[in-house]
């Protein structure tokens, strides 16, 4: 149990510190790098939670593909120095109060035992492997899988149309 605690709190500190770094960073590049650290820490959580396939997908898709896209757009736009001090004076305290209310509600819901605490002690040995994921995906979730393929196609076409020259000005 003790190594589990050390592992959990070490990873949790990394995840929280990088999330706070994302909030406070002046430059968009540093925000993106903080987010990559956060995604990697969460991937290690997935490994701890016996989801190795999801952990590697997290690294490849989130920390790899999605963040490369973000960094590419940041560098393309030169957006790292775009933010100016235009924030209204009342916005930041209001945001912090709202976030405090949100976290209080969420912690209350966590403590109030709205979910029955069912702990599966012994897992099957293949839990979380690509084989088990594939069997569940293609047996029970085949229709959502096909719908996701249509969604990705629509997103691809949308991205191409939006970035085409004069794509927004037509019509």
């Amino acid at each position: 149990m003790i190594p589990d605690f050390i592992l959990f709190f070490g990873l949790a500190i990394v995840a929280l510190a990088s999330a706070i770094g994302l909030l406070l960073s002046k430059s968009a590049i540093y925000a993106a790098l903080n987010l990559i650290i956060n995604f990697t820490a969460i991937a290690f959580f997935y490994l701890v939670l016996s989801a190795p396939f999801i952990a590697l997908t997290q690294i490849a898709v989130y920390a790899g593909a999605i963040m490369v896209l973000f960094l590419f757009v940041i560098m393309l736009l030169g957006a790292e120095k775009l933010e100016r001090g235009t924030i209204q004076p009342w916005q930041r305290p209001a945001a912090i109060i709202l976030a405090g209310i949100l976290i209080a509600e969420a912690i209350y819901m966590s403590i109030a035992q709205v979910v029955p605490a069912a702990i599966a002690g012994d897992l099957p040995a293949e839990f979380g492997t690509p084989l088990a994921i594939g069997e569940t995906l293609f047996n029970e979730y085949l229709l959502p899988f096909e719908v996701v393929s249509i969604l990705l196609l629509a997103a691809m076409i949308g991205a191409i149309v939006l970035t085409k020259k004069g794509g927004l000005k037509r019509s």
């Binding site: 605690f5 939670l49 997290q58 973000f70 100016r84 709202l98 002690g121 994921i133 995906l137």
Partner: protein, 108 residues
């Protein structure tokens, strides 16, 4: 790297607590930052905290469905990022700015 037989996980409340805090930080980022790209990254942070809760409950209940949902969330997030960043690039080309306080008209 399969699950060890009989290995106990930490109580699922630890993971939901961390997920709640990460989600709140993401929401706070959406509220206090003004750069559209950083707001977008905060949304990704919120999606990830939900994924963490999914995987923790999948482990806790011994069911694969939670992990499949994470898979779908990742696919939807990838589609969202592709379209969202294309929108940001298009807005930047027409307005030369992505500060969301300056973007107050729908006219292209």
């Amino acid at each position: 790297v399969g699950a060890d037989e009989g290995e106990k996980m930490l109580p699922v409340e630890y993971y939901t607590g961390l997920s709640v805090i990460l989600f709140t930080l993401g929401a706070l980022g959406v509220l206090i930052r003004r750069n559209a790209i950083i707001i977008f990254m905060s949304v990704e942070l919120m999606l990830n905290s939900a994924n963490l809760a999914f995987v923790a409950f999948a482990r806790s209940y011994g069911s694969m469905s939670g992990q499949i949902f994470v898979f779908f969330v990742m696919a939807v997030a990838a589609a969202e990022v592709a379209v969202g960043l294309a929108l940001i690039v298009a807005i930047f080309h027409s307005k030369h700015n992505i500060d969301i306080d300056q973007l107050n008209s729908l006219h292209g």
